[in-house]
Structure formats: structure tokens, C-alpha cells
Assembly symmetry: C2
Homo-oligomer: 273 residues x 2
């Protein structure tokens, strides 16, 4: 999917919501556990109930790998289902991969070719040659960790070096990499005050923003400092939507939560016009 197609989706749906499909078998409705593939059945119901309210789905690979081959099969079925039934959705493999060049190329193959995701999240620690193999795929997007939403973000990402902080250096340096037009960045909503500085470095890039809701970030603040002329934000919510209920009404309740966020987003989009 091209960035232009993503922007068009956002305009059409008046939404820049991404729903995180982080499926934990201990948290989903118990009646689904009797089905052959509870993770997929859960995802399918959530997706069918919310697809018109969001522009993106983001399974976090950890939640699938934890269940071994069965989990990996659920992930494959989920992405196939989205690609077939809702091809307009921007799909994100939240995998936080990254390795030396020839190895990163294998990860890129896994997520872009085998699983057919539109994008994958990548960690920056190993530098240029660990990220460029992902960037080489045309029509695919690499979402680089810049400033994450967790407490540990302050351990290294905000350390000062030569008048800058590490995450700023990551943003700046990444702009010089080959095919950097295929980059997006992860910036946590819990750090809204940082968006102003970040937009000075990457004014035009899309930012994937976790941390609204369960982790305490504010949608209004993120939008105030983080939006650009194309919106330029994908706001992720996982637990707040998918675990709104663990009863038989889970999909309906997920829709209600997604709708609240979509309406809030529509209001924000209207006000910036």
C-alpha cells in the first residue's frame, strides 16, 4: 500500500485508528476456547465489527509466537483474512525485528513476502545495514522505534549525546538511509510533549502512536503536537478496544470503544480544517 492510499483511507473514514490485535488466551471470552482456533475466531469477530472505524490492524507477533506453531498459524490466517476481505486496511506486523544485513533481509521476506504485511516495526540499535534491507521493498513500510511508550524508554532513548537525545539522533540518522521515504516511526503517546521536537526532525513522516488508553496517553495532546497536513498519525489502541468485554458481547463492545475513538478523531480532523 502506498502512503497516498493510506491518507485517502484516513480521509474517507475520518479515522486514523489502528487496532492492536494482541490476543491473550487468558483474556478472551471463554466460549471461544472451544473453537478450533480461538485466536483467529477472536480476531475475525473483532475485525468484522470494527473495520469501518479504523484504517489499520496491528498484530503483535509476541502474542502469536507464545503459542508456538498454532499461534503462527493464527497469525497467518488473520493477515490472510484482512488482506482478502478488507484490503484497504494498512497492516502492521508489530515484530520489532532487526539484525545484520543478510539476516534482516530474511525477516523482511518473512513479513513482506510470506505473510504479506504492508509494514513491520524494526528496532534501530544495530543501525543502517540492519534497517535498509526492509526499506528496499517497494510499496512496503518500515516503522522504526524512535521513542517508545514504556518506562524503559528513559533508560537509553532519551540519553543526551552531543546536544541531542538518542531518539532524535535515530530520527535524524535514519533520514539519510537508502529508501528512507519508506520509513515511519513509533512514538509513544505517553510522551506527548516530545512530539513538537519530533515534528521538527520528521515533519512529513507517519508516526505510529501506541500508549493511548491503557497506558495513559492523551489523544488530544498527541494530535495537538503530532499532526501534520496529512494527519500523519496512526493511533493504536489494543487492550482498550479488544478487551472491552470478555463476554459474548465482546465484538459489539469493541465496536463501541472503537467508535468512541473514531468520533473523537473525526472531531479533531474537523477542527483542523
Amino acid at each position: 500500500m502506498t502512503t497516498q492510499q493510506l491518507i485517502q483511507q484516513i480521509k474517507t473514514k475520518q479515522s486514523f485508528l489502528c487496532i492492536g490485535l494482541d490476543v491473550d488466551l487468558t483474556k478472551i471470552p471463554q466460549h471461544l476456547l472451544a473453537t478450533e482456533d480461538p485466536i483467529f475466531e477472536f480476531n475475525k469477530a473483532i475485525i468484522d465489527a470494527t473495520h469501518d472505524l479504523c484504517v489499520s490492524y496491528k498484530p503483535n507477533t509476541a502474542f502469536y509466537e507464545a503459542y508456538g506453531i498454532k499461534g503462527w498459524m493464527s497469525l497467518q490466517k488473520t493477515i490472510q483474512y484482512i488482506n482478502e476481505k478488507y484490503p484497504e486496511q494498512f497492516t502492521i506486523a508489530d515484530a520489532k525485528r532487526g539484525d545484520i544485513g543478510n539476516t534482516s533481509a530474511m525477516y523482511a521476506k518473512a513479513f513482506f513476502e510470506d505473510l504479506q504485511f504492508d509494514s513491520v516495526t524494526v528496532a534501530p540499535y544495530m543501525g543502517k545495514d540492519s534497517v535498509e534491507p526492509f526499506l528496499a521493498f517497494e510499496g512496503k513500510h518500515t516503522i522504526l522505534l524512535a521513542l517508545t511508550s514504556n518506562e524503559g524508554a528513559y533508560d537509553f532513548q532519551t540519553l543526551p549525546l552531543e546536544g541531542k537525545e538518542l531518539y532524535q539522533k535515530v530520527l535524524e540518522t535514519s533520514k539519510s538511509w537508502k529508501n528512507s521515504q519508506n520509513l515511519m516511526y513509533v512514538v509513544g503517546a505517553t510522551k506527548a510533549e516530545f512530539f513538537k521536537e519530533i515534528r521538527k526532525i520528521v515533519p512529513d513522516s507517519f508516526l505510529l502512536v501506541p500508549g493511548v488508553g491503557a497506558q495513559g496517553g492523551s489523544l488530544q495532546e498527541v494530535c495537538q503536537y503530532g499532526m501534520n497536513q496529512n494527519i500523519g498519525l496512526l493511533i493504536n489502541s489494543s487492550r482498550g478496544i479488544i478487551y472491552a468485554s470478555n463476554g459474548e458481547d465482546f465484538a459489539l463492545r469493541a465496536r463501541e470503544e472503537a467508535l468512541k475513538l473514531q468520533q473523537e478523531m473525526q472531531e479533531i480532523i474537523k477542527n483542523i480544517k
Copy 2:
């Protein structure tokens, strides 16, 4: 496996060799492609031919994920084979994972409980709460990326901050994390001159050292600066051993290459006594 058991293995085998099982279907002997699971058949032959010469096997997960579910099945069969037939081997899932706390816990479950690896490599960028869920597993080891073997290591890892370089800060900070006794570190052999500084910060920790051989690192230099009283090193070789031949003699030739390294290691161990 405990660290003491690993040290005992090293003494018994007079080897601190780790063999990287990075299986690329385009590089393995063509006659294996006719088998039902070429990746597993390849690994099985390599493992049977080398197990007495090395103390550790390290599949890099990228090479398995690239082949989707079939690849994940090959990975599972490989680790099961090692754990059943050669339980003395220290197994490393070279996965370079890391995410926010509850998500890292799912990765830990994937590699320590579902796949039953002894250890997993983890990226430090997201800080303390992204690593501690791995450290919580008793008898398991978390191998943190410190200074990697690739060119991109110089993009961020060696940036100066407050009189130190980032990788030094990672080493220092990680020592304060809960259950830090379960930490080991990745340090590339291509940067032998750095080992002296690294040993000042983590004198007792095991270091996993990729980059000897194909990537140009020197075993002698790494040992000169990196060894401690328990050896404290696991030297990884992947391509130099497993792709020594792509003919029917591949396992035999892999053994020859592993033997060369083991003999060099035996000599080094003898000289430090």
C-alpha cells in the same frame, strides 16, 4: 542450564564454540531439497557431525520465519532434536526480541517455555522493563545486544554520551536490573579492541561473539582481550562451518571446519593455564 554447567562443558570439550544454524535453502546441498523438511535434515546432519566439538547451537529465527509455518516447524524440530539427543548443549534462540513488559513476557514464554531454549538474544533499545521479563526465568539466560558485529554498530552503539559510549552505558545500566545474573552479552568479534573496555564493566559475564570467520573477526585477538577465568566466551561461527561444502560431503566438511576452530580453542585454553 546453569552457567556452571556451561563452564563444565567448555572444560570437558576444550571448546567454546557455538555453531550458528542459519539455514538458507538456496545455500544447502541440493539433494536435501527432495526431503520432506530440508532445513531440519540439514540441521540434523550438521548437529550429529559437530556436537562433540561445540558447546552451543544458535539458530537465528529470521532464517526460519522467512519460510513461514514450515520454517517455524523446522525450528521446533531442531530444538527438540538437540534437547533430546544432546541435552548438554547450550541452546540460543538468536531472535533479537524486545517489547514493552507484558509483551516481552510473551516472547519469553515463546522461547523459554514453548520452544525450550536455554537462552534468547534481546535488543536493549526499549530499556529495563523490556528485558526484565526475560530475566525472571530461572535457569534461562538473556543475551543482550551490546556491541554488534556489523558496520551499523557505529551508527548508534558507539555514540558518545557523558564520557561513555552507548554500548558501555547499556552494559552498565543492565547490571542494575533485577536478576541481572542471568545476563550475557553480544559483542562482535570484528571489534576486538573493544573487549578490554568491556571486560572492565562486565568482568564475569559470558559474551556471545559473532563475526569470527565470514565477517572477518580474529579468534586470537578476541581471546586475548575478552577471556576471563572461566573462559567467558562463546565464539559463534555460522557460514564458515555450515556452508563449508554444498555437496553430499557437507556434514563432513562442516566437522572439519568445526574441528579446526576447536583445536585452535584447545591451544588457547592450554596456554592460559
